[in-house]
Amino acid sequence: MNGESSNPRRRRLIPYALLGPGLIWLLVFFVIPMYFMGELALRSGTLETGFGFSWEFSNFSDALSRYDENFIRSFLYAGIATLIALLIAYPLAYMIAFRAGRWKNALLFVVVAPFFTTYLIRTIAWTTILSDDSFVVETIGSLGLLGGSDRLLATPTAVIAGITYNFLPFMVLPIYASLERIDTRLIEAAKDLYSSAAQAFWRVTLPLSAPGVVAGTLLTFIPAAGDYINVIFLGSSNQSMVGNAIQSLYLSLRDYPTAAALSFMLMAVILALVVIYIRFAGSEALMGDEEEVR
């Protein structure tokens, strides 16, 4: 490496100077707020008297016993939505990677297109699509698939459908990226060695695309578990998720300690799941490939 800087000590400081401002921003406005949230969760008191710090660990157990159903619903809905998103996204990503030809870029564009409309608006668009007298609901209803009821809004189905839609691109893009990277000669080699198309898929293509599947499921599940918009527009209080509880506790009821305890637990559960998942599936999926320094 010639040039750059003649002074080696100055050169050693360059990366820190480049990193400094951005990482300090993340430290002050991401890491330190996490500490304050933890501290807030251990306070007691009321909004009128003010909240004093008192190692109030019972906030956690109280929050959990009051909102256990919200927690269960969050992980249940997010889990189902992630699974459905995977089932939709994999064939779509496969088509874009291997069958699209010159339509590839146009299709990738379609995948991210929902992001170009406001999140709230596209959720509200689903309210129109799933409203009681809409074409979709009447068709499903006339097929007898609504189980006697004539509505889809304010049901878990509507909430899960909304979540699936809103986070689908997060599933498609990583799977596409990993399928795209596969050396197709490997698949041809499998076929040359007399594997059937199905065998080649299950034993070559699918394992090679696993990093994309891991990244996609994480990127879908994490925001889905914390979501509260879909419940507000497509569900009712009977579908209330943990995000809804956190939002109303923080912003309407102003019960900060309980709210902080809930968000802290949500974060802890998600971090635990991510760690287990990565142990199980390899770390490069989330961290990105640890590329060489150039």
Binding site: G3, F36, E39, T118, L218, I229, M287, R294
Partner: protein, 286 residues
């Protein structure tokens, strides 16, 4: 039957594409609706009123202007900070590199509601007044990681020989950065900026926690949802969609152009047509 099996992936994929596009079409179509009541949920008639009067609701315009200012400012800051981080991560080996990588990835793995709640906890603890400033802090915070990832992917494919050539020809480090490095990574930086802008203008959850009385475009929609969202919101959403699509196409075009320019440069091949002695020492020196 065999045809069906052969084309199953394509058929299924096309259905998925349709699924992705339907709500967008609904938004565009319903911007021409003439709803009877306050709620724009079912079709009742065609009108152009909400396009000709797209900017006729003052509070909606204010919210949109706030969103645009917020997005412009947070994009500027996040793009500069993120690009610097990406440069450090890709080009330097230093103590704490893994930790820095980790700090950038964790916000991406944190649900928005937790980021919003944690920031609010910080602001509440210091009795900070919520408003434009707290929104700006929050938006820069969640944009940085995305900028780093986009710019980093662009930097990884960067041919450092070009910079060395500039230095060999007597350019200073600053001139080299300005005239060689920056133009070459610019498509990546613009792409990152566009992403940051889109994230900011679309953000609801984190803003919901940290906005105070300040109203952005998504916050306006949320507030209006209770009393019926004006059709103009659909019009503005359609316009925003159109503008973003055009901006995206511009970036793609820029990137294609940059790649064409890079492709015109001689790669590993020595400058003659006849291959010199293969792997002659110093032939590919750097």
């Amino acid at each position: 039957m065999r045809w069906l099996r052969h084309h199953a992936v394509t058929i299924f994929g096309s259905l998925a594409v349709l699924y992705l596009l339907v709500p967008i079409a609904v938004i565009a179509i319903f911007s021409f609706n003439d709803p009877e009541g306050k709620f724009n949920y079912s079709w009742s008639g065609f009108t152009l009123d909400h396009w000709t009067g797209a900017f006729s609701i003052p509070s909606l315009n204010d919210a949109l202007v706030t969103s645009l200012q917020l997005a412009a400012l947070s994009t500027l800051i996040a793009t500069i900070l993120g690009t610097m981080i990406a440069l450090a991560l890709v080009r330097h080996d230093f103590f704490g590199r893994r930790l820095a990588n980790f700090l950038i990835v964790v916000p991406l793995a944190t649900p928005e509601v937790v980021i919003g709640a944690a920031l609010l906890s910080l602001f509440v603890s210091y009795n900070a007044a919520l408003g434009f400033t707290t929104l700006l802090i929050a938006h820069v915070m969640f944009s940085i990681s995305f900028v780093v990832i986009v710019v980093r992917s662009r930097l990884i494919g960067f041919d450092r020989g070009l910079e060395e050539a500039a230095r060999d020809l007597g350019a200073s480090a600053a001139t080299t950065f300005r005239t060689v490095t920056l133009p070459l990574i610019m498509p990546g930086v613009i792409g990152a900026a566009l992403l940051a802008f889109a994230l900011s203008i679309d953000d609801f959850v984190i803003s919901n926690f940290n906005s105070g009385q300040t109203e952005t475009f998504p916050l306006y929609i949320f507030g209006a949802a209770q009393r019926g969202i004006p059709v103009e919101v659909y019009t503005l959403a359609t316009i925003l969609f159109g503008v973003t699509v055009v901006a995206m196409l511009f970036v793609i075009w820029q990137q294609a152009r940059a790649e064409r320019m890079a492709a015109m440069l001689p790669d590993d091949e020595p400058y003659g047509t006849t291959p010199a002695i293969p792997s002659a020492p110093g032939a590919t020196g750097g």
